[in-house]
Symmetry: C2
Subunit: 341 residues, 2 copies
């Protein structure tokens, strides 16, 4: 695409407003003698510390999806900003805690919060960000009806529960020999898809869209999350190393039970035997990835990703997204799902 992207233009317009509302939201964490707590949160958001800036801030896809859905569903993106901020905060809450749970030292190229301030402060900072996300959502009251705000609250709290259910399964799976495909999708539905589904649904809710259109937006987010994960699982084994910015067989070496792996294990052939023999070493990974491909793991995952992509795009069309924001949602869906068109 050589023409200027509608998404980039929208993001450029919306980001300053998002950032300002985020800034106001986290300011209250510095009350009562706790400026360092605010500093930790600002660091997580990519605003302070070494290498602060756009890369450290992350792409902010989720909050932008909230705003785009609000606009595409016939509302005003600015009225949905408190919901977008709640989404961005809850995403960062989950990153802070996930990084501790996964023992990850790096996030967006910088030391993680627990690495800088220790686990105890990091757990607590995640909790503070969770509380700030809840508070931020209440600011919808300034522009929307009480009924809508309560509805948004119920959806949001349910989404947060879903996030923890997905994470619970993800941690559980690390120590299980066998994980069924059903269990895998339960995990991904919570861990990856739930917040995307909420982002789109709450945008449409803020626009007071009819219930069935809200459901379509939610479905779009849900399938977008599942398709994205299936795609990501493929790239984690067969991705172009330069394109994904990390070793393309890393998922095999790390023993991650991704979609192609689960398919391969169920075949009980050569890949299953290689995997079962113990942790896969770097030098064996290429051979095992070829074996997995020969046994149908790649094709299965690609078929699944394609099917989920279709479901996502169908749900988006059923949501009848309006105007420029609608076009941008289509553009973004295509980008996220690695499609050319």
């Amino acid at each position: 695409m050589n023409k200027p992207s509608g998404f980039s233009a929208f993001a450029e317009k919306a980001r300053p407003a998002l950032r300002e509302e985020l800034r106001v939201a986290i300011t209250s964490s510095a009350d009562h003698g706790t400026p360092e707590l605010q500093n930790m949160i600002a660091y997580q958001l990519g605003w302070t510390g070494e290498n602060a800036g756009p890369k450290a801030e992350g792409k902010q896809i989720r909050p932008l999806l909230v705003l785009l859905a609000a606009e595409a569903a016939g509302g005003d993106w600015q009225a949905a900003i408190p919901a977008a901020v709640a989404v961005e905060l809850i995403h960062n809450f989950s990153l802070i805690h996930d990084d501790i749970e996964d023992n990850s030292s790096l996030r967006r190229g910088r030391p993680t919060v627990w690495k800088n301030w220790g686990e105890a402060q990091a757990i607590n900072t995640g909790d503070a960000v969770f509380a700030l996300a809840n508070l931020s959502l209440m600011n919808l009251e300034k522009t929307l009806s009480r009924e809508t705000v309560l509805q948004a609250g119920k959806l949001f709290h349910t989404t947060c529960l879903r996030l923890t259910q997905g994470q619970h399964l993800d941690i559980l799976f690390e120590n299980l020999n066998q994980v069924s495909l059903e269990e895998y999708w339960q995990m991904v539905s919570g861990k990856t898809a739930a917040l995307l589904a909420f982002s789109l649904e709450v945008g449409a809710l803020c626009a007071s869209a009819p219930d069935d259109l809200q459901s379509n937006y939610r479905d779009f987010g849900h399938y977008l999350g599942l398709a994205f994960q299936a795609q990501d699982d493929i790239l984690g084994i067969w991705g172009n190393q330069e394109q994904i910015g990390k070793s393309n067989t890393g998922d095999l070496v790390n023993g991650k039970k991704t979609l192609p792996v689960l398919y391969g294990l169920a075949q009980k052939k050569g890949f299953y035997e290689g995997w079962s023999a113990g942790p896969i070493k770097s030098k064996e990974a290429a051979k095992l990835s070829q074996m997995l491909e020969a046994e149908g793991g790649r094709a299965y995952a690609q078929n699944t990703a394609d099917r989920l992509t279709d479901l996502a795009l169908t749900a988006l069309e059923n949501a009848q997204p309006h105007g420029e924001a609608g076009d941008i949602l289509r553009e973004l869906a295509g980008k996220l799902l690695h499609r050319k068109e």
Copy 2:
């Protein structure tokens, strides 16, 4: 007191209703293939595992305070149950995370959640309980106006932020040589008093009490928390060992910067020198506690506790608590504040 306690009778009446609403609340954590997540929460609540039962469940003072305030402010305690459940859940959320942050292996005589299931699952289970608390509060909508539910939500989320601010300071203080009394009170206000203040305020809110009475209930809870902490700090150094069920100089050996200690350090006399010489050994603790008492630390803390107790009881009287529930609140305040009358 030989006559049957009004509090005990009320607790006996209310606990089954609390427990049932708690049970319903945590049931949703077992959805989507996560029964073990529910099991972890039920364990934290004292319902399952070895030595499950009343001791493991804890005293449930906070949720009972919600219900008593609702009744004493002229409402119906049953209408406030979702708020009481939210309070009990958020208390347990903070216990799960505090136990990880403090590296505590035991809670109410049993292994802590992280000890049983590992840190990663425990952090995540705390997060799930946080989400369940938020969801539970929304159930107030069944009996109260939308305006009241939104007001309760704002108070609750602000309280959760205050809890994390208090905990942030508590962790911070462990590695500071100097902590001012102002900083100490900021910590206690968040960590101990904020949830008690919310418990009483939200009870009065559920009863639709006038704003100034709600403030009085909140103040009662706030000062109750501060007075309780000051009292607890005294018992941690000079308590009757049998009465408090732990070593009475434990706080000195553990280097806890409690109210009498901070007073003693500020005097820069013998206690200051003994404390500054390095970690206090068990055999030195008795001598240092005597020194601290001689230098005025005990009297200062007792004076402070008395003053805060007066403020708490005055706030309670200003709240004009009605009927039997009002009498029970007075009884409970007396008990919690270690007063004879």
